[in-house]
């Protein structure tokens, strides 16, 4: 019975992969060069620095069809549970499939707020609620947001959602409420503690490691070296928004 082939992943094997991934995380390739950078937490009380630009490099060739580990990890981390109808549900990250009709090539990728250097959502916000932090993260200050949804119209990536219902049981680190627009924060509450975004961790745990997170401004970071070495794509590069999220293998 236990030898029956199954579509379900073997939980013990998955656990072992997780341990292996965790073990790899700190491996040094050469002195001073690490395979995965362990982000350093800023000392408490210090503001985000302009010398940092947080970014992600998503390798679409490693993003598996049918896997939604990043989406469910995001929903869990930010407590994005909702009872409204599906098309109104807040969605900070989604999986999409690109299908090239002529060649029948299909490629999967996660799509979320691209944390643009020139964010159109910030340009159109009438109250200053939509803003770009010093370290490049594009966020919404819900204290100022009036829920006009101009930013949702302006975003070419359809990355923003509106909260239609009263909420309870938020993650204490991620306050959310009715009447505000919201989007991916790159798990800013984790970054500020020196952590990595939940989707990045979940993808690595699944063994795909399709998302590389780090400081684009630090020439020694894994992401900066990778962006230097391989051809990467900005989605809608024609808009010249300089997104902090880049893709390879599209």
């Amino acid at each position: 019975m236990s030898q029956q082939p199954s579509d379900q992943p073997d939980p013990t094997r998955r656990g072992a992969l997780g341990v292996a991934a965790a073990a790899v995380a700190g491996v040094a390739i050469a002195p001073g060069i690490h395979l995965i950078e362990v982000a350093q937490a800023r000392p408490a009380g210090e503001p985000a620095s302009k010398s940092v630009r947080w970014g992600m490099l998503i390798d679409a060739s490693r993003c598996e069809s049918g896997c939604d580990a990043c989406v469910s990890a995001c929903n869990r981390e930010n407590a994005l549970n909702s009872a409204v109808e599906p098309r109104q549900k807040p969605q900070w990250i989604r999986k999409i499939t690109l299908h090239e009709v002529k060649t029948d090539r299909k490629v999967n990728l996660p799509m979320m707020c691209q944390h643009c250097a020139e964010p159109p959502c910030v340009d159109v916000c009438p109250t200053g609620a939509s803003f770009k932090r010093a370290d490049g993260l594009v966020l919404v200050d819900r204290h100022l947001c009036i829920g006009c949804r101009y930013c949702m119209m302006a975003c070419p990536y359809k990355a923003r959602s509106f909260v239609h219902e009263p909420l309870t049981a938020q993650n204490p680190a991620v306050p959310r409420g009715k009447g505000c627009v919201e989007s991916c924060t790159m798990c800013v509450h984790r970054i500020d503690q020196g952590g990595t975004p939940a989707c990045v961790e979940a993808c690595a745990r699944e063994g795909h490691a399709a998302i590389l997170f780090g400081d684009l401004n630090d020439p020694n970071s894994a992401i900066a070296r990778k962006v230097h070495d391989v051809a990467t794509t900005q989605v809608r590069a024609d808009l010249r928004l300089d997104p902090g999220v880049r893709y390879q293998g599209l």
Binding site: G45, E46, N81, R142, N171, P172, A173
Partner: protein, 146 residues
Amino acid sequence: MIGMTSAGKRAGRLAVLMIGLGLVAAVLPASAGSGRTPQPQVDAARGGACVLPPEQMRRQHMDLLKHQRKVTVHEGVRGAPASLVGCIDCHASRSNDSVLGSSQNFCQGCHSYAAVKLDCFECHNPRTGQTAASAAASAASAGAKP
């Protein structure tokens, strides 16, 4: 004519003084005062030393929080003493782990007494001891209800 005006002024000053005293009594609920004034019975939970003396906290907590929210949201400064999470950690009632729920709970009790709208908790979680996982679990069970 002159006498009437000065009498009127005196009466006006007295009225202003009385209104002023009334306001002070209303916003200083814990000032040990006359037995005739009803006082809110709030559970201060852990109590102890706050970030400022209680008299200052009663008048300034909203300013401290408003300042802190700007610094935290826009600049990313975390772990400051005057944070809303800090308030909740100390003042959540031991009976329901929350600063809301009844007129005994710390935030709700005083705000309903002073008739000041409290909208922090339309977005912030009023409970202590919550993690991302436990919040997600309780949100899921709340969402499952029709």
